[in-house]
Symmetry: C2
Subunit: 208 residues, 2 copies
């Protein structure tokens, strides 16, 4: 099974190679852009050569698709986890959610940039549009359900359905991330949370 230890050179597992390539792709693509980075660049950043990429992913598009899959699922998990604790009052929960999403955006810095580019590619490519929209709907549905569970019975404004609230939440998160990309200082850390609390807790008076 393994000729590990001292002396013998071990060949990395296929999974190890895959993971290393994906991680390198995320870094390099985010920094240089997907079109701006060559397959050689990505492979080299992972300590391999082109051959490894084509052996594992078939094409550059295959690598991009795999990266999209990995990242989107990560995003969904993060989002759901952020709204997991159903203990505190609603407005406070909204504020916590905003802070959490903001923190995610900030710690992953250039991931936003890559996310935008993946979005563009998906919209532009004829085949990818369908798959992307399916993923998008899944995420939307998950967020909507979470919204329903959290706001059930609470005094949220009737002007916004849970469905629309989910859309608003996603749009706001992405929009603020975009804004922060252009000018990090222009977007306070707690802005998202305050806006969410404002929209959600409309029935309650503001407590300074």
């Amino acid at each position: 099974m393994e000729t590990n230890g001292s002396g013998a050179r071990r060949r990395p597992t296929r999974e190890e190679v895959r993971a290393a390539l994906l991680e390198a792709a995320a870094r390099v693509f985010a920094r240089q852009g997907i079109d701006g980075a060559s397959v050689d660049d990505v492979a080299a950043a992972a300590g391999f050569t082109k051959g490894a990429v084509y052996s594992n992913f078939g094409s550059k598009d295959g690598l991009v698709a795999a990266l999209l899959d990995a990242k989107v699922s990560t995003y969904l998990v993060q989002g759901l986890d952020a709204v997991a604790d159903t203990e505190r009052p609603l407005a406070e929960r909204a504020r916590a959610l905003g802070d959490r999403l903001t923190a995610v955006d900030q710690e992953q810095e250039d991931w936003t940039l890559l996310f935008l580019e993946l979005w563009q590619r998906a919209v532009r490519s004829p085949g990818g549009q369908e798959a992307f929209r399916r993923r998008r709907r899944e995420l939307h549905a998950a967020v909507t359900q979470a919204v329903v569970e959290h706001t059930d019975g609470a005094g949220i404004p009737a002007t916004l359905s849970p469905d629309e609230l989910a859309t608003l939440l996603m749009a706001l998160t992405n929009g603020l991330a975009l804004e922060r990309l252009g000018d990090p200082a222009a977007v306070p850390d707690d802005l998202l949370g305050r806006v969410l609390a404002l929209v959600i807790g409309r029935a309650e008076p503001p407590r300074p």
Copy 2:
């Protein structure tokens, strides 16, 4: 290309050529992406060849920069014009503004896509970052001032400063446009207007 009334072949003005190239660039870049479209493609779409582009803009980046300038100013004019009429009540004005911005996004369809790509480029390029941030601040300042003028004395929530309201407005517009890009049906036309009215007119009760 065109024959004049007197029978002689007329050469188009330099300004005509410039305008035609910019218009073609907006179309072609939006559809194929900036990196995805060659200088030949753009020139051909305008009825010219590469030579015209390099004679007028010096480089592909020069063309992109000129296009950015033209489009951003258009955007600002549209936005300011949308909030121009200061007659109607505030909430109603907010709703009208939302509808107007939404309409702009919809009629220019793939402009959003191009806008995103320009944004990316600006953030990524070392020199462009500064110029882009300057433009961004100008736009933000203009929007902030408009917000101050419109909400002066009205009962807007103290949780959001005019500055933050401007950021929120821009982020929301872009975020919803992004969302609509992925799934046009998921974003109702009047959502932006309703949310704005909700945030702005927090003091007033909702009128169905």
